[in-house]
């Protein structure tokens, strides 16, 4: 029974889910070929002009470049702040822990407009210029709660024995951290990294308030969207999707090849058994 479920039902369900995710996107990709200024069914005549024009559109390419810089910078900040924060919270217990978590996740509850305005006034008071750095800061503020919550989930289940064992074997605190703790956290870190990148890459409101005259991709998209959803916007979204899939697969292959001989993570995962 369970076997049947695992062998057939689950894969079928999974691929149905993937289809549900991708069918609207295929529709959108097709719309990019529509020879009209609007996207809608039916598509009577087809053209590649929209795809060509968005690739040649320097404004779009410049905005993607800005977005990429912001995403990388804010991810570094988000993980750099969020990781030690998760460790800090893990040391606390009871009421203090609850209070700390409440304060840390607060930015995620604040309506985006409000936090964007507040951050804009905040950087103004500190004399920080608007632009890539300010946007990245704004994104980091909102992604840190996600990073902390994700990492805490995994940290909660980490056995102290693991770190102790490493210490007994002569590892100092830094080695314990980088060779034992971080690999154990890898799946949660991967998730947190994805959160940070995605949150940054599709944020409009904070990017608008904290940005200067060079727009991020979503800011440009929104400005154009106001005056009509033409097939070009469908085309550029499709291209972004394709590029990220290719980059993702490439990165996955790259890390898989590098990780293959070592299996550091395996060792860490095994340590958990004693506790489970």
């Amino acid at each position: 029974m369970m076997r049947l479920l695992g062998r057939i039902a689950l894969p079928v369900y999974f691929w149905l889910f993937v289809a549900w995710l991708f069918v609207p996107l295929f529709v959108m990709a097709a719309m990019g070929f529509r020879d009209s200024n609007f996207v809608a069914f039916p598509i009577q005549s087809w053209t590649t002009d929209w795809y060509r024009s968005v690739i040649e559109d320097r404004e779009i390419m410049a905005s993607l470049w800005v977005s990429l810089q912001v995403a990388v910078l804010s991810t570094v900040m988000g993980l750099g702040i969020g990781t030690p924060m998760a460790f800090m919270v893990a040391r606390f217990d009871g009421v203090w822990r609850a209070v700390l978590i409440a304060i840390i996740v607060m930015p995620a509850f604040i309506p985006i407009v409000v936090s964007a305005i507040a951050l804009r006034m905040f950087i103004g008071n500190f004399g920080i210029d608007t632009g890539i750095l300010a946007i990245a800061f704004g994104h980091a503020v909102s992604s840190v709660p996600f990073v902390v919550v994700m990492l805490l989930t995994r940290l909660n289940s980490m056995s102290a024995n693991l770190a102790d064992a490493a210490r007994d074997l002569g590892a100092d605190e830094f080695i314990v951290f980088f060779r034992v703790v971080l690999p154990y956290l890898a799946p949660a870190l991967f998730g947190a990294l994805m959160f940070c990148m995605l949150l940054s890459f599709e944020d409009f409101t904070r990017s608008f308030f904290l940005g200067s005259f060079d727009p991020t991709f979503p800011v440009l998209l929104f400005a154009r969207l106001r005056f009509g959803f033409d097939p070009g916007l469908a085309a550029i979204s499709t291209l972004v999707l394709l590029v990220t899939i290719v980059l993702g697969l490439y990165a996955e292959r790259f890390t898989r090849k590098r990780a293959a001989p070592g299996h550091q993570g395996r060792l860490a995962a095994r340590g958990d058994d004693t506790n489970a």
Partner: protein
């Protein structure tokens, strides 16, 4: 990587630091806490306090040269009109339902990737499922409008099959809204669930099976308890996200189902003296939502079981 630290041991300062850290939990705490604490105070609390103060202003921005006057009327405004309360209640009910639905939909997906699919393909499958999220939320909303509209993909498909009646009205109601929101929240549930399920040792399940545990009891006695943290995290993230949604409900929802975040968005959307009211409403939303999630977590975490 390790080589760097071994090399660093030549230096007395490094040795002293690591020894101090090994000996003193307090020192470890201090080392990891400096930056996070500064961040919490500066980045989390300062802007919040700023908006908190503004919520008590009579008007803001101040006219030139005017002295600020303070009032609590913006907080009372929330209770004065039933439409705010109903939007507020609707937000919480909607967010709770969507959270439960997302969990139900995503658990099998996460379980498949983490436990059933071949180990080497897991990250690739994960990347596949994450990929659609690189497209802007608003574009994805428009993509769903193309799917569900009267002349959209679904209706076109039916007429292709020979159906010739009036088109199905699938858009601008609770169904289209739920589909759109689920599309958004699925990722936020998937990643924590995956991270929690991934660490469950396969041998544990094998051992349980060897000892005669049925599939169902393996699920309720082993998988669910071990995935509990992941489930709680996923639910918290999704709830957070849905309570704060304001653009998608306006695009995909019907003419009547206003959510509270959209109300706040509209208050800030009018050019003019709307900040104090909007800030006050935001404060109410923040604290009630925090309390709601806090109670939810406290209840679920009290369940009998080991503490880790």
């Amino acid at each position: 990587m390790t080589a760097i630290f071994i090399w660093a041991r030549r230096f007395a300062a490094y040795r002293a630091l690591t020894e101090l850290l090994a000996r003193s939990p307090l020192a470890r705490l201090a080392l990891i806490s400096i930056i996070p604490l500064a961040w919490i105070v500066l980045a989390n609390l300062a802007p919040l306090v700023q908006m908190f103060v503004i919520s008590f202003y009579q008007t803001y921005p101040l006219a030139e040269g005017a002295a600020p006057e303070f009032t609590t009327r913006h907080y009372f405004a929330f209770f004065e009109r039933p439409l705010y309360l109903s939007a507020f209640a609707r937000s919480f009910i909607f967010a709770t339902l969507v959270t439960a639905l997302t969990l139900a939909v995503m658990f099998p997906v996460a379980y498949y990737i983490a436990k059933v699919a071949p180990r080497m393909r897991r990250v690739r499958l994960l990347l596949l499922v994450i990929a659609p999220f690189w497209i802007s939320e608003i574009i994805r909303s428009f993509a769903w409008m193309l799917m569900l509209s009267n002349r959209g993909a679904v209706n076109s498909f039916f007429s292709f099959l020979g159906y010739s009646g009036p088109p199905f009205e699938l858009l601008y109601n609770n169904i289209s809204l739920t589909i759109g929101v689920l599309y958004l929240t699925s990722l936020y549930m998937l990643l924590p669930l995956y991270s929690a399920l991934e660490k469950i040792d396969d041998r544990l399940l094998e051992a349980a099976a060897d000892l005669g545990a049925t599939g169902f009891s393996r699920f309720t006695r082993i998988i669910l308890p071990l995935a509990r943290d992941g489930i709680l995290t996923g639910c918290t993230l999704v709830f957070l996200l849905v309570v704060g949604l304001y653009a998608m409900p306006v695009l995909l929802g019907g003419p009547s189902n206003t959510l509270f975040a959209s109300t706040i968005g509209q208050i800030f959307g009018r050019a003019g003296d709307s900040w104090p009211l909007g800030s006050a409403f935001s404060m109410i939303l923040i604290f009630v939502a925090l309390a709601y999630v806090g109670v939810f977590m406290a209840v679920l975490q009290k369940r009998p079981g080991r503490r880790t």
